[in-house]
């Protein structure tokens, strides 16, 4: 086993690499070495057998190819030694694979007791992160990252501008952790299944409604990495991105945390409401331009008449402050006619609700 371990470590390009390799993304967490080591062990065993089997197929094809009607050179149909060999060797190899995977997995499933806990809550189709020290609630900002991505692609943003915009967004969004610190993530879902996945860290956990999932990691390299949803969750599944920021040290992380969840309260209420609309994920379902998304548009919504169903009974109301607040606090109570009724409970403060209401008002009657 020892010999094999050292052999594996020679075959894998781990020691020198921080960027992505041909097969695997950047190895930047404490689990990357284990997972990648296991990956390359299985990989080389597989390559060996694939080459062996392919070589035999090709050699036999060339050597024993014969015109129709020619007799086979042998009709031998068994060899007990061979059968034992090709049963025994796979048994041993697959037990080794199981064993490595088991060892690695137990470490991944056991967070150390001193780990800092951050809650990641998944809703259609945005992330929200809650930090323990000050209860700051920070959005995943999927829409912003997707806009930046599209801007880069259609050339309206240069890579530098994109990076700059990303940094501005990340001042108040994203999953932030200090480097070389054990972090435990509690994963929750408010509506359907999602999965919390950071490819560069090799960690993944399903977010299941009604369950509290957990995973942990220690980021080993400061930088910005992708966080994606890996479990199919409908229309916005492929846009449910966010970023992980690994801070260089604890101080930098704490400095960020102190300002992350705050608002610039000198701004007019309607502008603050627009920030809430983006930050809290309203943007994924409510448009501002009259376009139909999963929920009704906010353009001209205030003061208009809204048909709804409540407990399967149809009704109608004027959209006013009370109706907006009720719809935020109890989203499944009155469901606007013609919409599927998929709104999660987004916990807003009283101030945030006030700002959002002012924002909707400002969008005209």
């Amino acid at each position: 086993m020892q010999l094999l371990n050292s052999l594996i470590s020679h075959m894998t390009p781990l020691a020198t690499q921080t960027g992505p390799s041909f097969w695997l993304p950047a190895p930047v967490s404490n689990f990357a070495d284990t997972v990648d080591g296991d990956f390359y062990f299985v990989y080389w065993v597989s390559i060996f057998f694939l080459v062996l089997i392919t070589a035999l197929l090709v050699i036999f094809m060339m050597k024993f190819k014969a015109p129709e009607g020619q007799k086979a050179k042998s009709q031998n149909d068994h060899n007990i030694i061979l059968e034992i060999a090709w049963t025994g060797i796979p048994v041993v190899l697959s037990f080794m694979m199981f064993w490595y995977g088991y060892k690695g997995y137990v470490a991944m499933a056991t967070p150390p007791s001193n780990a800092m806990t951050i809650t990641a809550e998944a809703s259609r189709w945005f992330w929200n992160f809650t930090y323990p020290t000050n209860g700051a609630s920070v959005p995943g900002a999927s829409e912003d990252f997707n806009e930046i991505r599209m801007g880069l692609r259609d050339g309206s943003l240069t890579p530098e501008q994109a990076k700059e915009r990303e940094n501005i967004v990340l001042e108040k969004a994203g999953l932030h952790v200090p480097v070389n610190t054990p972090v435990r993530i509690k994963v929750l879902a408010t509506d359907v299944l999602h999965a919390f996945y950071i490819p560069d860290f090799r960690v993944k956990k399903d977010c299941v409604p009604g369950r509290i999932g957990e995973l942990w990691f220690e980021a080993t390299e400061p930088g910005t990495y992708d966080l994606v949803c890996a479990e199919y969750c409908g229309q916005g599944h492929s846009l449910m991105h966010s970023k992980v920021v690994v801070h260089e040290n604890q101080e930098s992380f704490e400095k960020w945390l102190a300002v992350a969840a705050s608002y610039d309260e000198t701004l007019p209420f309607a502008e603050l409401g627009e920030i809430v609309w983006k930050r809290k994920g309203c943007v994924s379902c409510h448009s501002l331009d009259g376009g139909n998304k999963v929920g009704p548009t906010w353009l001209g919504a205030f003061g208009s008449e809204r048909q709804y169903t409540e407990n399967d009974v149809a009704g109608s109301t004027i959209v006013d402050e009370a109706y907006i607040e009720e719809s935020i606090r109890y989203p499944m109570k009155k469901i606007a006619a013609g919409y599927p009724g998929q709104m999660p409970v987004v916990k807003l403060t009283d101030k945030e609700i006030l700002w959002v209401t002012e924002f909707i008002k400002s969008l005209g009657k």
Binding site: F22, W23, P25, T34, V35, F39, V42, Y43, S46, L50, T54, F60, M61, F64, A66, E68, G69, Q70, A72, K73, S74, Q75, D77, H78, W86, T87, P90, M97, F98, Y100, G101, Y102, K103, Y105, M108, A109, L152, R153, D191, L193, A195, Y197, P199, D200, V203, K204, K205, V208, G210, R211, A230, Y232, G234, G236, H237, S238, G291, N292, V294, Q342
Partner: protein
């Protein structure tokens, strides 16, 4: 030497006798195709061959439909920018919804309507009684009933296509499936009905194999296809009812809100996954075990050599069938299932790999010192071995707990199961179709176009799915309508591969149809096989055999003389069949 092992030396005496009593193929009288000609003689037929042929037409039609959706998905993914969905929907949200319906439809059709019934119901129905020297299956009426249930299930799918589609993915995971406004219930009812079609076929095959083997055919000189069909039938009968119950619960959850899968009512969405995979993991083996049976026939017959390690192949089919029931939890390694459960399921999962490896090595050993005819059928057989090897080996990555944490729900998984389900299951189905085509239709297809098409399918398949392994392990999640630019090159290669493969399949459809119109007449035994179907005319008469056949040694393949004029392999006069 194991005295029970069928081998050249030990069973020679028995063979001589068996071959002597093998039926004589008399090329006269109408075949099952021409004996009656009315539409009702097909619609109400109890003949397993006609039912098999009708299944075949249905399955191939659904394969075309599922394939069209695959091409739509792959075309859309050629670019991360919406490419063809805007042709069908103006709103960006509706475009994403449409894509989600496409991949769901592709998956559901291919799994439930093509691969599961492909080898067992379409090829199996035609071949199984012939291999047994029987006139029909044990319950011909039930067999016709299975077929109409299949039609009924397929009709529900077609209804869904025109009534809002379904966007849950083929797995119907809760709570999404209880929440989406698409046509989940008709789709689930369709799958429920197809389940019964599958159960009845399985039941029929179990009874047929138990009760209708000819004189002299023991379990251990059955053709290996029958071992595959038998193992599959057992899984169909035992596992499919669980799917049926699960789907009923899903319907009740959607209509009455019983709450069994709903966390807010005290239920658990993961429970659905347990129920679903308790069927659907064995279902993977419903797709692959009969395919392995086909390959055992193809490799042996076209190598003109006894199958190597008969008993090991037979037992490994049974072993896979048994293990398949206790590995379902490996689909839920990241679901929050307990660590202990994950470790147990991971351990058991590796046990499935062993019998698969045994089969591959035995097929290769069969080729050693054989006389390999590299015709279209054999090329499909060889493709299968290569593709199945990749499918099996990449399964190892997913069984290793630490690696699966990274690879779960990425394109690596997508590529892996396509290698197993399509590269293995479907390629074996197409290979088997070529193997038995002359027997079914009485016509030979064009070997020239056949080999070209097979090569295109092989190259296209690998080009489609190898890039998916790479992007998957780099972190590309599955079921994504749009993706990060860094994955674009892999998606583009994959899409090109899909088109190459489609070209191969269209070519196949073309030359097979052409063979019906103007193909050379097929001889009784075009490949030199010795199982019973090669001892009756191509196509067989309605009652399958003239006279009552008794068992042959299916892998006694060296006593034939090839006639280059007729293309027929006939038993040597010395064996006394003249």
């Amino acid at each position: 030497m194991n005295p029970n092992e069928p081998n050249a030396a030990g069973s020679e005496a028995a063979n001589a006798e068996a071959v002597t009593s093998a039926p004589v193929a008399v090329e006269s009288g109408p075949s099952y195709l021409t004996v009656t000609k009315t539409i009702s003689s097909w619609a109400f037929t109890l003949d397993h061959k006609r039912i098999g042929l009708m299944y075949l037409v249905g399955v191939l039609g659904m394969f075309l439909l599922g394939g069209v959706f695959a091409l739509l998905v792959r075309t859309e993914l050629f670019s991360p920018i919406p490419l063809i969905t805007p042709l069908f929907a103006a709103d960006p949200g509706a475009q994403a919804d449409l894509y989600n319906q496409w991949f769901t439809t592709h998956g559901a059709i291919m799994v439930f309507l093509v691969i599961i019934p492909g080898v067992p119901a379409a090829l199996g129905n035609f071949v199984l009684p012939l291999l047994l020297g029987a006139k029909d299956v044990a319950f011909p009426r039930l067999n016709l009933g299975s077929f109409y249930l299949w039609i009924c299930g397929a009709a529900f799918f077609v209804y869904v296509l025109f009534n809002g589609g379904v966007d849950t993915g083929w797995t119907f995971y809760t709570p999404y499936s209880t929440d989406t406004s698409t046509a989940v219930i008709p789709a689930v009812v369709g799958v429920f009905i197809l389940g019964f079609s599958s159960i009845f076929t399985g039941l029929n095959f179990i009874v047929t194999i138990h009760k209708m083997r000819p004189k002299g055919m023991t379990w251990f000189n059955m053709p290996l296809f029958l071992w595959g069909a038998y193992s599959t039938a057992v899984i169909q009968v035992l596992a499919t009812p669980v799917l049926g119950i699960t789907l009923l619960l899903l319907i009740l959850e959607r209509t009455l809100g019983i709450g069994i899968f709903d966390a807010s009512s005290g239920g658990d969405p993961v429970l659905y996954q347990h129920f679903f995979w308790f069927y659907s993991h064995p279902a993977v083996y419903i797709m692959i075990i009969p395919a392995m049976g086909v390959i055992s026939e193809i490799i042996s017959v076209h190598s003109h050599k006894r199958i190597f390690g008969y008993r090991y192949i037979a037992y490994s089919s049974v072993a896979i069938a048994i293990f398949s029931f206790i590995v379902w939890g490996h689909h839920m390694f990241t679901s929050g299932q307990s660590t202990t459960m994950n470790i147990i399921f991971s351990g058991i999962t590796f046990s499935v790999g062993i019998p698969s490896a045994i089969k591959v090595f035995n097929w290769i050993a069969t080729m050693y010192k054989g006389s390999l005819t590299l015709n279209t059928t054999m090329l499909y057989g060889l493709s299968f071995i290569f593709l199945f090897t990749i499918g099996g080996l990449t399964g190892l990555f997913l069984g290793v707990l630490s690696i699966d944490t990274h690879l779960h729900d990425t394109y690596f998984v997508v590529a892996h199961f396509h290698y197993v389900m399509m590269g293995s299951g479907l390629i074996a189905f197409i290979g088997g179709l070529h193997h038995w085509w002359p027997k079914m239709t009485g016509k030979m297809f064009s070997e020239f176009w056949g080999r070209i098409a097979c090569t295109l399918v092989f190259i296209g398949f690998n080009l489609t799915f190898i890039p998916q392994f790479v992007m998957g392990s780099l972190g590309m999640p599955r079921r994504y309508y749009t993706y990060q630019d860094k994955f674009e090159i892999y998606h583009q290669l994959s899409t090109i591969g899909a088109y190459v493969m489609a070209l191969g399949f269209f070519m196949t459809a073309f030359y097979l149809l052409q063979s019906l119109a103007s193909g050379k007449k097929a001889p009784t035994n075009p490949w030199g096989g010795n199982s019973l179907e090669w001892h009756t005319p191509s196509p067989p008469p309605l009652e399958n055999f003239h006279g009552v056949p008794s068992a042959t040694d299916p892998y006694e393949l060296d006593h034939f003389d090839y006639d280059p004029v007729t293309g027929n392999y006939s038993s040597r006069t010395s064996t006394g069949t003249a």
